[in-house]
Subunit: 239 residues, 6 copies
């Protein structure tokens, strides 16, 4: 059965990562996956949160937001609403946690890297695109620290990329667009390292509980997609 | 290697579920898992959120909180802080989503069931204990609706229970207490239905990415633990 | 005229105070007065608020909250609402002020004792039950400080207990339950010390202004009830 | 022993109530008690809060605030702080409750009277001055309703006035100024009706618990002071 | 065409500035312009905001608010609403910026002067009245600093006054009252120094864009009005 | 004296307006002025705010924000801070007011057009770029309404564009970049219509009050710049 945009079930959308997208941040990319577009920036701050002070270790934290018209109908700004929504908090906690899993905070030293992921246009998979793009922004920021001699060794222990998979109309699909995501029976986000280990695995039954067999199928699809993303990242880094 | 409380790696803590714990709610339990204690209540409200109005369908939603001294050091109240923290939002979204996956909202009719999970004492696994206990509170509330003739058929399609598993000191463990959880390399929360399907699977590498083999081992442990919890639930329901 | 629960006008409800109710806090009790149940905890923090710094004196402060289904209909969480309500603030200010009146802050030294009163089940008289229970939790925490040698002398100058009295259907009653409270013409909360002095006296006409004679009658009733509570406290302390 | 401003222990400060102080409100006064100055306004709104809708009854509610430099050192604005403080909430709840006790809400009909008390200059006794002044503003607003024929009978059942009393340096004093209040061992606020009944009685031991005898002495002083305030109110109303 | 209050188009309303209006602040005035009444106070605080620390320079900042019944219909308190409105922020930023433009922050030294402008009664032109009055309050506060020897030279470089002008029914008018302001096609606020320079110029087309010729006419009117205000200020200062 | 980017004092930066920048909104552009980049979107909502209900008239309102790393150092998100800052409110009120001045709300009918201006990269002049870009987004949205037959006549009465001018190092400059803006003695934002009328004029002395002659010079520069912007807009509209 054909997908709405003509892809095969195991096919990623077109991925594009523009490095040095903005002039101010220490690292910045615009990542495009199909119609989903996310600006990811990395900011170096020469201090750490209170719980890390005096530890000799740094910190990596992330924030995530969507422009009001990133979506089909306008979403109220969280600044006007006066607080961040649960979905936003959940996503930014995921991004921060995932990135920290591949960073040696000791090597980073007592500084914080802020990752900001702002969705300019949303068509499904914004949180996984954010992680895949943020890795490149983080990589650029670390390269600047190395170049300035602020650190001696890159704190990045691994590459990191993420993708969504799901079950839609009884079929397992890779890299769901919004239309597919909104009909999915199961939705799974997978974050993996460059050496094929898992960092996060979040599978959710949207109405229909799923079997062990479905889980295995989705994980296999995710591994395939992430391998392609890691390859794209490597090309950009080595440019 | 023995666990801090003498359990074997595949052993649950002592579980106790007290039904009708409070006089006011339509359903209420105190669930105890080792030293973790959570009050779960179910409240029936004869209206639905705006997005569900006129649909003929009901809604199930959850809120989660901890008393300030549920924990070893005092946690500031979220009411004083002026907002809920990301962790709280993430947990209550999980609880609500998990419960909705086994409820037929059409059969429930245009009413909301509020699930409140308040942690009186925390020693790890509060979110999974909350789900396991909330299922019983929800079951009681549905029983009241049936008894009053407000609904003709139970909206509960399945039983639901949850457990945490993890990898600690290179060993896979079932039902982590706080001490184990704080040292875990990997932490996974699993929610399953009475017929052995998955509803939620959230695995997180706390510092060390994990292999496919570890994942499979943790899932097997979780299935074992959840089967025991489902059995305990059945005894309570059938009393 | 009989009361709804069969008590005589001058009779307290059944009072029960469970010491060491929770494992984490420095002091903790579950106080039950009829159907009203309040968890009171005392937390020692080795610092003081800014206005007390360098004074050599400590501080005692209280927070109060109700679980959403402590009440007959569900009350919205104050954390969701984004702020504490006026009633909550009024009650926690009362509890803190009352406890400070019997504490020698100099002897306590530069540390804070946080009192948390969380109502698990409400049936009238929650603020007075909170004070009576909090005294025991505070007593336990001070005993720990003495035992550890952090202080040389107990900072507690007196015992402290509280009760509500009121005028319902033209009759003066001791220890109002919710049903009585909601019909009361006058409602009075009284806080007294172990040596029979007044710490707080708050009488409010709910619709019908009251005479000097009614006031005197209510104060006499309150004194009687508080004497019984002080006796119960003494038994627990001396156990 | 002479008081700081030369008054005898049983003497009120100079009281002045300017009617029609502002052009916009339905009722407005500037009440001056010594150096304490409070603007009290009454606003008629032709609707009631949700809990009163369809009852045929009206509502009276109060808000209280202080200008930042009403006090000796600048107080941060509550609008900048983002919320009202506990003290403010406690005071405005007291004012609203006290006024409602002398209003027949049925006669008022389904409308709300908002009482706003804004302290321009504070020197102790602002909450009691606010009540005494608010009564006149409320009276003016009710007179306008009668005049317009919106109501047939005044909803005011009684006059209402309030005063503070206290024990300072072992002496009972009427109408404490700020300097006295800040040294008081006991502080009591009393609200009474025109026919000598009590509406509110709030006695607080500031450090030193007080005896029954002190309480009786303070109540006697308060009655004397309130009688004088009621007389001043009558002169203004009858002008 | 006559104005509603009988003034000629180029005529100010009656202006009155009462110095030393309150007892607590270092500077305070009540400024009355027609029916508009604003209390302006100046508070000296011996510290500066973080961005100014260690610079040797001081700071001047302003806050603005209206009493709920300063207006024809009651305005909700910003403290109840939980935040300041855009209009309030805009006005207080204008007042602070305008005052800073005539203050030598170096001469002021590392201290902050807080300007509080509270509108007691509003009838148009509250922000310009606030600036004109705040200058006098600021002048008083600086005089106190000089007198105490805290500073050697006045930090005030110029006088400062402000006025509104507008185009109503095709006619240019000075000092708009509320009725005129609400019908104005163009509304302009002008802030000028004692030596005839501009500090702020804010012209806004309320529905009808305006020509260069109108702009010139309004500026001329504003200059005339401000000259009269400067003269009034001088008389007060020299008293 | 050469400007930092080599421009002459009367020269605009390179302007680029990309129409249809995003897929979801009814109108959207990316406007680039030098290094300043703003996404402007227009959203049609088929309802109006309460104050406009039943009037037959529509509404136009604007919101403005900056990405955290639009600026040289990271700016905290307003959603994390819990509220919008004064600067943000001031700017979005300006944008909304300016756009409404050229819209016939009657012709728009009872619908709202939301304008969202999100600064992706900031280098001075973001508010004026937002207005110039928002006009095109608004124009696109109106074109869609006309095309669908929802309205019969365009509600746009005029073109609208804006520019900043200032005095830097004693020289009058058009279209200030951030470096110039931060050194400016005077800063003026001008909004004009296609027929050369003024809609907003906001001149601010940043430290040094300015003369009438400076004002006239700046207005002349602004008129020149705006004429060029209007020409650029016309080319885009007519494409």
């Amino acid at each position: 059965m054909a997908r709405s945009d003509g892809r095969s079930p195991e096919q990623l959308r077109t991925v594009r990562i523009e490095k040095d997208y903005l002039i101010h941040p220490e690292g910045s990319v615009l990542i495009t996956m199909g119609k989903t577009k996310v600006i990811c920036t990395a900011t170096i701050e020469e201090k750490v949160p209170p719980f890390q002070k005096g530890s000799g270790k740094g910190w990596v934290t992330a924030e995530y937001a969507m422009l009001p018209r990133a979506t089909g109908t306008r979403t109220q700004r969280e600044s006007t609403r006066g607080k961040q929504q649960g979905r936003t908090m959940e996503i930014q906690r995921l991004i921060g946690r995932a990135l920290r899993s591949i960073v040696d905070l000791q090597r980073l030293g007592e500084r914080t890297i802020w990752i900001d992921c702002d969705v300019i246009q949303a068509d499904g998979g914004t949180r996984t695109a954010a992680i895949t793009g943020a890795f490149i922004a983080l990589h650029e920021a670390c390269a600047k620290l190395l170049q300035k001699g602020s650190i001696q060794q890159t704190p990045l222990l691994q590459q990191l990329a993420a993708i969504s998979v799901g079950k839609v109309n009884n079929q397992l699909l890779l890299d769901l667009c919004y239309e597919e995501d909104s009909q999915a029976e199961v939705d799974m986000n997978v974050v993996m390292t460059g050496d094929g280990k898992f960092v996060e695995l979040q599978g959710t039954a949207e109405g229909v509980p799923f079997s062990r067999q479905d889980m295995d199928g989705m994980i296999r699809l995710a591994q395939k997609g992430i391998n392609e993303l890691l390859e794209i990242q490597r090309k950009i880094i080595n440019k």
